[in-house]
């Protein structure tokens, strides 16, 4: 019983139930001769709801709890001496049995008791699926019948269907909210563990970010201060906004108010392309073009700007979020009613006066929304940008890779005690998620969407150069 089959059967059920509901309500209307409270289609939908919802509920229950119930039963069936006390080990044992049952390969020879357990697992699964299917059919049939019998001219099918739609919408919103709550809760556990190792005061007010792990024997040198991370992020973000907000707004105003129709049709998608360019490409652009350019500019002005500075990062990130601000603001400005503009123009306002005094204020809430979206994008990218990892090269030697929002960073990093990367090298900081109490274990690199996630090792980086 695959999920696809279940969906197909449910769809058929929905179609049949709808037709039954239609036919039934027409029949009732004819037989009673009274005007029905609701239109036939609402009766059809009500029958669909009554038949399909319980069946779906049964299926969900099975999907949610069936697996763990079966696992518990399988585990209980094992010879007592084979059941590990540790929960993690139990999972490993179960995984082996499951692999065996589903015919995947597994490491080592399968023991006899494992074979038996696998067979037991399979039979349990088959039975469970059969029971679920039977149960689903039963509740669907009951719901159908109950709803069929309950169809009367007075049945307030429309109101019930409307109510069901409302509940469905609430459920969707609830999912989003619970996801947020879930994220916070899941972080909470990690956070508490983290703060068992690191003093919160050091974390929030420390000025050194240099995570080391006990397992690699470098305790004593580590620093877990959040401030440099935060200041780097803030700095880059402010620079990015300083670039993106004025540019984006001007673009939006031009597109919405001045650009001829055909120019707008070409320019708008062209600008939106900026949003589709992978972060890595921006990184290369920053490194190869913008960085040196800014450095050159700095030289002209007598200021020392390094190519990898936060300025470069901020400027490039600003360019990256321009389309968010320009496109959204353009849509919003276009939405401002023509009557509003006419009011100002008819009073003798010039085009620019009209835009500044009437159109922009009217569009302000939306523009603020667009800017906030840009900011959150900038913050997100900066956070991701703080990733720096070491990968094991093919020869087993650690290869130093600084990963940040603008891609691969190959500048040598000095890690001698007492020497710290300056804070402006914003992108050059390890991500917080590298900090795990089972350090040295595998950790997945997140972020940098364009690249394939790889398993990497956090190791001591003393001997690289």
């Amino acid at each position: 019983m695959s999920n696809l089959a279940v969906v197909a059967v449910l769809l058929v059920l929905v179609a049949v139930a709808y037709q039954i509901g239609l036919a039934r309500s027409r029949g009732v209307a004819l037989a009673s001769g009274v005007r029905m409270h609701s239109l036939p289609r609402y009766h059809g939908l009500l029958v669909v709801l009554n038949a399909a919802l319980p069946a779906i509920a049964v299926y969900l229950l099975w999907s949610l709890f069936g697996g763990s119930v079966i696992e518990a039963m399988v585990l209980a069936s094992l010879p007592p001496e084979q059941i590990p006390a540790d929960e993690l080990q139990q999972r490993v044992v179960l995984q082996r049995i499951q692999n065996l049952a589903s015919g995947f390969g597994m490491l080592g020879e399968a023991q006899a008791y494992e074979q038996a357990a696998a067979a037991y697992l399979q039979s349990l699964t088959t039975t469970g699926q059969a029971v679920t299917a039977a149960l689903m059919a039963t509740v669907a049939a009951l719901g159908l019948f109950w709803s069929w019998r309950g169809t009367t001219p007075q049945t307030r099918a429309r109101n019930k269907v409307e109510r069901a739609i409302e509940i469905g919408l609430i459920a969707c919103s609830a999912i989003a909210i619970f996801t947020t709550v879930g994220i916070v809760l899941s972080m909470l556990g990690e956070t508490i563990r983290f703060f068992q190792f690191i003093n919160p005061a050091d974390f929030f007010f420390g000025t050194v970010w240099n995570p080391r792990f006990e397992t690699v024997g470098t305790s004593g040198q580590e620093g877990f201060g959040l401030l440099p991370l935060l200041s780097g992020t803030l700095l880059i973000m402010i620079i990015a906004m300083a670039v993106a907000v004025p540019l984006g707004l001007m673009i939006a105003i031009y597109l919405a108010e001045y650009a001829p129709y055909h120019v707008r049709n070409v320019a708008k998608p062209a600008i939106e392309v900026l949003a589709g360019i992978p972060t890595v490409v921006y990184g290369v652009f920053a490194l190869v073009t913008v960085g040196p350019f800014l450095a050159g500019m700095g030289e002209l002005l007598g200021v020392n700007i390094r190519a990898t500075s936060a300025l470069t990062a901020g400027v490039v990130m600003g360019m990256m979020i321009i389309p968010f601000i320009s496109s959204l603001s353009d849509d919003i400005i276009t939405q401002v009613p023509k009557a509003m503009r006419d009011g100002s123009l008819a009073l003798g306002g010039t085009k620019a006066e009209t835009i500044v005094k009437v159109v922009l204020p009217a569009a302000l809430p939306g523009i603020v929304g667009a800017i906030l979206l840009g900011v959150s994008k900038a913050i997100g990218e900066t956070m991701i940008g703080h990733g720096r990892r070491q990968l094991s090269g093919a020869d087993g030697q650690p290869v130093r890779i600084g990963f940040h929002h603008h891609g691969v960073h190959h500048q040598p990093v000095d890690r001698r005690p007492g020497f710290r990367q300056p804070a402006v090298a914003g992108g050059l900081r390890p991500r917080t998620d590298a900090v795990r109490d089972d350090a040295g274990a595998q950790c997945h690199r997140a972020g940098g969407g364009a690249q394939v996630p790889r398993t990497i090792r956090v190791i001591n980086d003393e001997p690289t150069h």
Partner: protein
């Protein structure tokens, strides 16, 4: 005589006249205020107005009537060059205000619109406080040098629009929060705050209830003292009540122009008679 009118029409003259002489209209009551000669309007290749010529006297109320789509709004918008803001619209022919060609390079459209105000079909107050709505025009044109002067203009404009008593305690409330009729009077106040000579009204009451409509009509009677008014209306009774002369348009042509009583009682054209007696339209 013509030179005289022109001088009065400039912003400088209006500025001087502003605080004590409401309206700033020319003293020469009865002279020709606006005149059009063979005015055609094209939307793209489509000619919506086929050569209209008429004169509007100072301090008179002229009503434009005619079936929908006959070009009343299009013609009205010629007088303050609002057709310039419509993409693809093109106006030919001559229109003069106080004897000056409004398409002349010497005339700035900004100044023209300060002199020829407009009230739209749907009330369109700005999403700003009531005070700011009225102060908008004077601020644009730098008509005042002090806050108290501006306060004075706002108050007198609202008074003349018959709105002052209703809003004087909540000038900070948004203009969009008023009722439809109040919003339309606010728009009239906004228009007269820059002391124009002419006010164009494009079906100003079509979105209003009868009581609000009666208030606006009353207002038009009072404004007549100081302004030249052209009003587009679908309501024949309204045209009869408020206007001195009436122009009947049909399919982009000016069919007949005459005193209101003549148009409604003894129209010369068959089409006018058909329309005012309700046979079509």
């Amino acid at each position: 005589m013509m030179e005289n009118n022109m001088a009065q029409a400039t912003m400088g003259a209006k500025l001087d006249a502003l605080p004590n002489k409401p309206g700033g209209g020319p003293a020469a009551s009865g002279g020709i205020k606006l005149s059009s000669r063979d005015v055609r309007v094209f939307y793209g290749d489509n000619e919506a107005l086929h050569g209209v010529s008429m004169d509007v006297m100072a301090n008179e109320v002229v009503a434009f009537i005619g079936p929908s789509g006959c070009g009343k709004s299009t013609f009205l918008r010629c007088f303050n060059r609002m057709n310039d803001t419509v993409a693809g619209a093109r106006v030919t022919g001559q229109i003069t205000l106080d004897g000056r060609d409004i398409h002349d390079h010497a005339i700035d459209v900004v100044q023209l619109r300060a002199q020829v105000g407009m009230v739209f079909q749907k009330p369109n107050p700005f999403p700003k406080p009531i005070y700011e709505n009225v102060a908008y025009g004077p601020r644009l044109h730098g008509l005042t040098s002090s806050k108290s002067e501006l306060d004075q203009i706002v108050e007198s404009s609202l008074r003349r629009a018959g709105l002052w008593e209703e809003v004087k305690d909540r000038l900070d409330a948004p203009g969009t929060g008023l009722s439809g009729g109040q919003q339309q009077r606010l728009c009239i106040a906004r228009a007269i705050a820059v002391s124009p000579d002419v006010i164009l009204m494009d079906e100003p009451c079509s979105a209003l209830d009868p009581i609000a409509t009666a208030k606006i009509e009353e207002l038009i009677h009072e404004l007549k003292e100081n302004y030249t008014i052209i009003i587009v209306t679908h309501n024949m009774q309204q045209a009869a009540r408020v206007s001195d002369r009436t122009a009947f348009f049909h399919l982009g042509d000016l069919i007949e122009l005459g005193t209101t009583s003549q148009i409604f009682t003894t129209p010369k054209q068959q089409r006018t008679e058909d329309y005012v007696t309700g046979r079509y339209g």
